[in-house]
Assembly symmetry: C2
């Protein structure tokens, strides 16, 4: 789409934040839309990755009985005020439409920061009896939260996401749903994105505004910082009461519904980039790469050109026939070195070099993006070989992430120790850790951690540590260690 | 999702507008979101149809070289003013964000009514040389236009759409692109939606605000009213000049790009409904029906129940295995009559009745939604038979639409005649016609037609009438007849 010269990328060791920005820009993922505060333009490669994520998520949502729907972008301002915690959480971040159709509106509309309130209104219309439950819907939408500090994909004032909303006849069923969706997120993060995550419960201080309990998946970036990659909330009866969503039970009593909501957003792409990319640019896990292989034809003389291009096109057709999206880079006016550099920065998993000598030998040189390894492979059976490389790359990327997470997770038994471990790490310098410590689930304890700009990320669903211990703030016994880290 | 009692549908002959509303509601397609002026909630069946349309369109966009991207929802107000016709056209319809993050904004943002302006800004950044051209992008997005009179799907203040935006190095290439996309829209309308359309050029009075020329597809609804179902615009160099989008040509000169934009929206679903549905409810062309077949198990005694359900599930598995999405309606507490009524209102193309007698005979009763015909079919080879019925239904629906269009298209040779033909038709009464008449492409002539609330719909790309003739307003010779009709 643009012949803008490829630029080199700031090394991670020099400036992690600048590296990230370079990878996003050079990878054709996004660019800042500085004329609209805190927004970005999602560019072709970035949007294609989002489409890949959408397809993987959407398939799983549908397989678990959810239907897609679409609710209005605008929400009457008064709706937000009906749930006390919710309005408090979102008020500072709202974009407000006060004029429409040339007139001042009697009641302003807020641009949805999330849709629990307006969906609550409709749930009240749709739900009368236990027979109407559960209601299991999801929407793919844009939302707006006026953030002060923004960073492409990780935190933008407008972002794309999906928000699932469900209503149930019992607390147990709602809890099962919230946990089910958390596991779906974790599955996509790990199996599709090759990004290992910790599944956990948010502390009370960190839970969603209006939720009874929030579940999350937390991933570790290459610099050791945490990224909240997805959340799933038990809303209890909070929104049911705020919007009067009642149903007649089998026993004939009138009950408020139990709700859940859950979402992941384009933020996932930021996590993907910071988990896998390197100093050469973007690295994409094969399952999410829009193009799996690019063939770069190599020739010097005009009579070689035609033969090589023909063979390259045939090879691409073979790979496409085998279900591996492949392209030939037949652009004129660029040398092969430039082309390899170009596709490397865009994270194409496999590049294939094809020249007259390969043609004569019946081979092609296959280069794997993550390790940079090159191998000559026979043309015969190339599709199977490439598929093998892609599979191997996918699992190796996940394994690398798992090792990193393990290597950078430490335990601590006092607040001093936690602070010492974490205070040296910043987004720019790297070296961040996940510190496992016993800490009481009390906003006052979270506040202590906030003093050195870290936070309680979650209480893991599965305690892989040493069970109960003494809180590093209050000394009280708590059931298990939590994850404390600096985070995006 | 809701057990709300199925209601009967107002017959078309009694009140076409009420019929439409009933079909939309009972078909689980959408419902009005009266708390957000002019908006709707798109419900599961409606959203699934939209997903079907998206998939069909998106595949064709990608096959013609377009890439998906995403631009911000908000546009600085000043951007709109840069193209004089554009701001005049859209100003009255804008929703404006004046407050964000708790503060009054220095420059308000408008919620995009369409994205030519903000995209023009980015094209100027991306395009420097002829090597950067063409730029071929598309976005799937929501847009907002503050309309006074709204109607679900047909005209809502917020709607979902895609907008393609391209930049080219020559007027010819831009024209080819605009026409190519029009034909893609027509192809989807006819081959997927089974909705015949006329491909044409908009009159100058009716073209898009800021375009040099607008192409459109116009469909005829069952009441004879026209529906503009898609548009494709040659923007000329208007936005190029407004946003300074210049490129260096091969010859080294600096030139403004030639742009196009094109879009279809959830309005298509309104057209789909008004083309095919009947007094029993929604009728969906098989290619867009999210569920192709529903099996309704029939039994009286408990011992029959298990056998029939087992056979129904096996049958559904067979159909699904053959790529035909099929479901078993195993809901308890509803009799078969209610179930057939339910699926009929939701437009499922084929319902299959399976009872103990069918089981014994090795058959099933297959009912086709559009004609209401019922046939007993052997269980053996049922998937192939159902596929045959669906194919036949798809082409028969298109043929019916074509016959209607032909039967209700008439010629006229004076304005009096045009008025007489059209003034009796209203959305409620039906009886609308497409009147083919010679009329000069001059806003003053369009205005004459507007006097009786009709409009010049388009000048067909292919003149299937009698060539040149005298304008019914000015008496001047014009090259061919235009379509004049009342429209949504």
């Amino acid at each position: 789409m643009s012949t803008a010269q490829s630029k080199n990328i700031t090394p991670r060791s020099q400036d992690f934040a600048a590296w990230y920005q370079d990878v996003v820009l050079q990878g054709d993922m996004a660019e800042p839309a500085e004329v609209v505060k805190g927004c970005m333009v999602i560019k072709p490669n970035g949007y294609a990755v989002w489409e890949g994520l959408q397809a993987e998520l959407d398939r799983r949502f549908k397989a678990t009985g959810h239907k897609n729907v679409y609710f209005p972008l605008f929400i009457p301002e008064s709706f937000l005020r009906r749930e006390a915690e919710h309005v408090e959480g979102f008020s500072p971040e709202l974009a407000v439409v006060t004029i429409a159709g040339g007139k001042k509106l009697e009641e302003p509309y807020v641009v949805r920061p999330t849709s629990e309130t307006i969906i609550g209104h409709f749930f009240a219309r749709w739900i009368q009896s236990w027979r109407d439950l559960p209601v299991l819907v999801n929407q793919w939408a844009n939302v707006v939260r006026w953030e002060l500090r923004t960073r492409m994909f990780l935190r933008t004032t407008e972002f794309l996401w999906q928000e699932g909303h469900t209503a149930h006849g019992s607390e147990e069923e709602a809890r099962e749903e919230a946990v089910r969706m958390l596991h779906i997120y974790a599955d996509v993060a790990e199996e599709v994105m090759a990004m290992p995550v910790i599944r956990g419960v948010k502390s009370r201080a960190e839970k969603f505004a209006g939720a009874q309990r929030s579940y999350c998946i937390e991933a570790m970036m290459q610099n050791g910082l945490a990224l909240q990659a997805g959340t799933s909330h038990e809303l209890g009866q909070n929104f049911g009461k705020a919007f009067d969503v009642k149903y007649q039970s089998k026993e004939g009593t009138l009950e408020y519904v139990w709700q859940t909501s859950w979402g992941v957003s384009t933020r996932l792409i930021g996590g993907l980039i910071m988990t896998h990319s390197d100093d050469k640019g973007l690295v994409l896990p094969p399952r999410l790469a829009p193009v799996k292989a690019v063939i770069v034809p190599i020739f010097r003389k005009e009579e070689e050109r035609e033969k090589v291009l023909e063979a390259a096109n045939r090879m691409a057709a073979d790979l496409n026939g085998a279900g591996l999206t492949a392209e030939v880079d037949a652009r004129e006016g660029y040398n092969p070195g430039h082309k390899f550099f170009h596709w490397e920065q865009r994270g194409v998993p496999v590049t294939i070099e094809l020249g007259p000598r390969d043609l004569a030998a019946g081979t092609a040189v296959v280069k794997r993006r993550d390790l940079g390894t090159k191998e000559s492979r026979p043309k015969e059976g190339l599709a199977a070989a490439v598929r093998g490389i892609l599979d191997e790359m996918q699992s190796s990327m996940l394994a690398t992430g798992r090792e990193r997470l393990k290597a950078n997770t430490v335990t601590a038994s006092s607040m001093g120790e936690v602070e010492e471990i974490l205070s040296s790490a910043t987004a720019e310098k790297g070296g961040g850790k996940f510190v496992m410590a016993h800490i009481k689930d009390d906003p006052a304890c979270d506040a202590k951690v906030k003093e050195f700009r870290a936070s309680v990320r979650c209480i893991p669903l599965k305690d892989e540590n040493d069970g109960p211990g003494k809180c590093i703030v209050t000394g009280e016994t708590v059931a298990q260690r939590s994850v404390i880290a600096k985070a995006y």
